[in-house]
């Protein structure tokens, strides 16, 4: 079973995303900000991460850059999930090492498509 860490300061987003990801076979854990997410990754690296951009303590982009330079941090597939919905932000996220990008609001079909797409051969 693939694991996914949901990193978002919104409990509603975490709850909705958790339900959908569990239904498509992911084992899910949650973090409220980049700092907590990094601590969890350092202990147990997940297969994938659903990552918000704007969060207190440590933003999604800071977390991503820190994770990608950490031993083993190149492994998780990372899907940004944010209200930042312009080309500049998407390009910046991809350059920093994100695998995919999802703009809020999203629906079940989009979330499923992005995560199932990560593991297509």
């Amino acid at each position: 079973m693939k694991t996914c860490l949901i990193v978002d300061d919104s409990t509603v987003i975490r709850k909705v995303a958790r339900r959908i990801l569990e239904e498509i076979g992911f084992e899910v854990d949650e973090a409220e900000d980049g700092k907590e997410a990094f601590e969890k990754c350092a202990k147990n690296m997940p297969d994938s991460i659903l990552l918000d951009w704007n969060m207190p303590v440590m933003s999604g982009l800071e977390f991503l850059k820190k994770l990608r330079s950490y031993v083993g941090g190149e492994m998780p597939k990372i899907v940004f999930c944010t209200t930042e919905n312009d080309i500049g932000h998407i390009a910046m996220a991809l350059k920093a090492g994100a695998d995919e990008y999802m703009m809020k609001p999203f629906d079940r079909e989009i979330l499923e498509g992005k995560f199932l797409g990560l593991y297509q051969d």
Binding site: F80, N85, D86, I87, I90, A91, A93, L94, A98, E100, Y101, M102, M103, F106, D107, E109, I110, G113, K114, G117, Q120
Partner: protein
């Protein structure tokens, strides 16, 4: 909605578009025609139905548009696009080179444009291989409204997130206000035209590959045969017809044979 109204609308769609509307589609008919009722000032859907056979062309077209436009998304089902990129396109380029002509692809049920633009993205990535011959995609649909949207190349945030990767989005789109505009280079590869699949497509010319996915399911067997005969005439021997994942030609047509190596691909016999 009166039973009689359902019958009138069903008969109209059968005659004009060859599409069968079953009785269990009443909810869909009511929901989709609500906007047409309001737009043309009918008191209710039964009034629209009663006047439909004698109505102005504009009203009739609006009804056809409302009842035929289906949701689409980029790279839907993925496998046919892999088959196109890896096998059908190289074969088409080789054939076009031998005959010294353009590579020609037909999307026969283009709806709002996601399928032809997906193919255009593949063509753009392989431009070096067909540049000498040239390539074009002809995208047709029965719905003028759907084609107008397709031609505009504008998509909503939800639409660009269905089937497109973030990389493809950055590469092929720009954001204009709240919408996403496909690159002009891709738009120029696609030629949009209204076409009814019941009619002879000879004016569209010959093609190397025809995509006609998830549309034959709306027709009865006789109409399917008629459409498949039309499509077969537009393909050379060995040319490919791509159908939807749940579609089969068993018992419907012997003008095509399934390609043993490519799912959803059917060939004109050599």
């Amino acid at each position: 909605m009166l039973e009689q109204s359902v019958a009138i609308i069903a008969r109209f769609m059968q005659q004009k578009a060859g599409i069968q509307l079953s009785a269990n589609k009443i909810y869909m008919i009511e929901a989709r025609l609500e906007a047409v009722v309001k737009r043309f000032g009918f008191a209710h859907i039964d009034a629209l139905a009663a006047s439909l056979p004698m109505a102005m062309g504009e009203v009739q077209q609006a009804v056809i548009d409302a009842l035929t436009t289906n949701e689409s998304f980029f790279f839907r089902d993925q496998k046919p696009f892999d088959a196109f990129e890896q096998a059908l396109l190289p074969q088409a380029i080789a054939r076009a080179r031998d005959e010294d002509r353009k590579v020609r692809i037909w999307c026969a049920a283009a709806a709002t444009g996601q399928e032809p633009y997906s193919l255009a993205m593949i063509l753009a990535a392989k431009k070096h291989s067909w540049l000498h011959q040239g390539a074009e995609i002809v995208a047709t649909d029965l719905s003028q409204t759907a084609l107008s949207r397709a031609k505009s190349g504008l998509f909503t945030q939800f639409e660009v997130q269905r089937g497109l990767s973030a990389q493809q989005l950055v590469q092929h789109f720009t954001k204009i206000d709240e919408q996403w505009q496909i690159a002009p280079a891709l738009q120029h590869m696609v030629q949009f035209e209204v076409h009814n699949l019941l009619h002879n497509p000879a004016r569209l010319g010959q093609f190397d590959t025809i995509f006609c996915r998830n549309v034959l399911i709306y027709f009865d067997v006789e109409t399917k045969r008629q459409i498949l005969t039309h499509l077969a005439r537009q393909l050379p021997p060995g040319g490919a017809l791509v159908l939807g994942a749940s579609e089969t030609l068993v018992g419907v047509s012997d003008q095509f044979k399934p390609d043993p190596n490519l799912p959803m691909v059917f060939r004109r016999p050599e």
